[in-house]
């Protein structure tokens, strides 16, 4: 029965309750917690204390040209190679209006991935891809901003170490809630839209 199976699985737990862990009151644990709580949170929160870098706001224009090793991702000519993917932040042809977010629309996105911002500086965001839902296998994606991008529909505030869910269609990153910080709600929607990924 399942309880029997559960009990049997517990017998091979390498960290069963008897195995000791670091006490939360130990000197090293206390230091770790104090260092963590020393990080400022709130509107101006940043990892500056740890990384020496400030936060940088990058508005993602609706129009992005996706270039994959010199080939357009959507041309059908680019085979997944795992090579870094470069996304140029375009400045024109922004979507005129937002489509209401739905999982049904999300399902049709040819490019969808979850990634962590590892470097945010000088108009460039480097993301390490954590998971491809659709349309690629690059391990790294770079967003190059174009100064003065007009007609911003949605914006994403990139912070190093934070995770983002991003979709794109026809070389255009979708704003309007189809790209943004990887909240549990958005991730759940992606997982529902791309169940086989």
């Amino acid at each position: 029965m399942s309880d029997e199976l559960r009990n049997r699985l517990q017998s091979i737990d390498p960290m069963a309750p008897g195995v000791p862990t670091e006490s939360v009151t130990s000197e090293s644990s206390r230091r770790l917690l104090e260092e963590t709580m020393a990080i400022e949170v709130g509107a101006q929160a940043s990892d500056a204390a740890r990384t020496g870098r400030g936060r940088w706001y990058l508005a993602v224009a609706a129009a992005l040209a996706l270039v994959f090793g010199g080939f357009a991702v959507f041309s059908g000519g680019g085979k997944p190679t795992g090579q870094p993917l470069e996304l140029a932040l375009g400045s024109s042809n922004a979507m005129a209006s937002c489509i209401q977010f739905s999982v049904e629309i999300l399902k049709d996105m040819p490019v969808a991935f979850e990634a962590t911002a590892v470097d945010v500086s000088d108009g460039k965001v480097t993301l390490d891809v954590d998971h491809w839902f659709s349309g690629g296998d690059a391990e790294s994606v770079t967003l190059n901003a174009t100064v003065g991008s007009p007609a911003l529909i949605g914006s994403v505030d990139f912070v190093e170490g934070e995770q983002y869910l991003i979709t794109a269609t026809n070389g255009t990153v979708n704003a309007c809630g189809f790209s943004g910080p990887a909240t549990p709600e958005l991730r759940s929607a992606f997982e529902e839209a791309f169940p086989a990924s």
């Binding site: 017998s11 737990d13 195995v19 670091e22 939360v24 917690l33 709580m37 954590d130 995770q163 997982e191």
Partner: protein, 174 residues
Amino acid sequence: MARRERFEAVVGETYDPLQRYLRRRASPPDAEDALAEILLTMWRRLDEMPRDNPLPWCYGVGRLTLANQRRGAGRRAKLMNRLAMERPMSEPEPASDQELEAALADLSEDDQELLRLWAWEQLEPREIAVALSVTPNAVSLRLGRARKRLESELRRKNHPRAGQEEAYGRKEPQ
């Protein structure tokens, strides 16, 4: 301060199970790094954390943190200057039920993780759903299938000819 107090209270409740969660899935140095990173996320996202039963949510943070670690070696060192713990945690005890360990290892990684969360973290489907960011119904279905596959693997190992037709969910040989 209220924020500090709440964080301390949550950490008091989750520090031990989080360490166990990490050590079941990562080497000691990676587990230490991940723990520091998870604590930072918990601190920064304290307001998003469920007040009732925050542990599955914390496991969800742990899942993503470990996924990040596996993605890029050395990246975590760039992201944060962790404070190294001064004394290493003890080594996990070797498993005694080798047949079960082998059967578990033959399942897909998704099946293994569901079974670990169920048996080792002792989570119920609705809690596993929080940790994996999927619906409870999906967890119940997948967990049921994972249990059947594990049982099938165990039968197959005991009687190599039996259970063969049920072994469709097994991991392909590398």
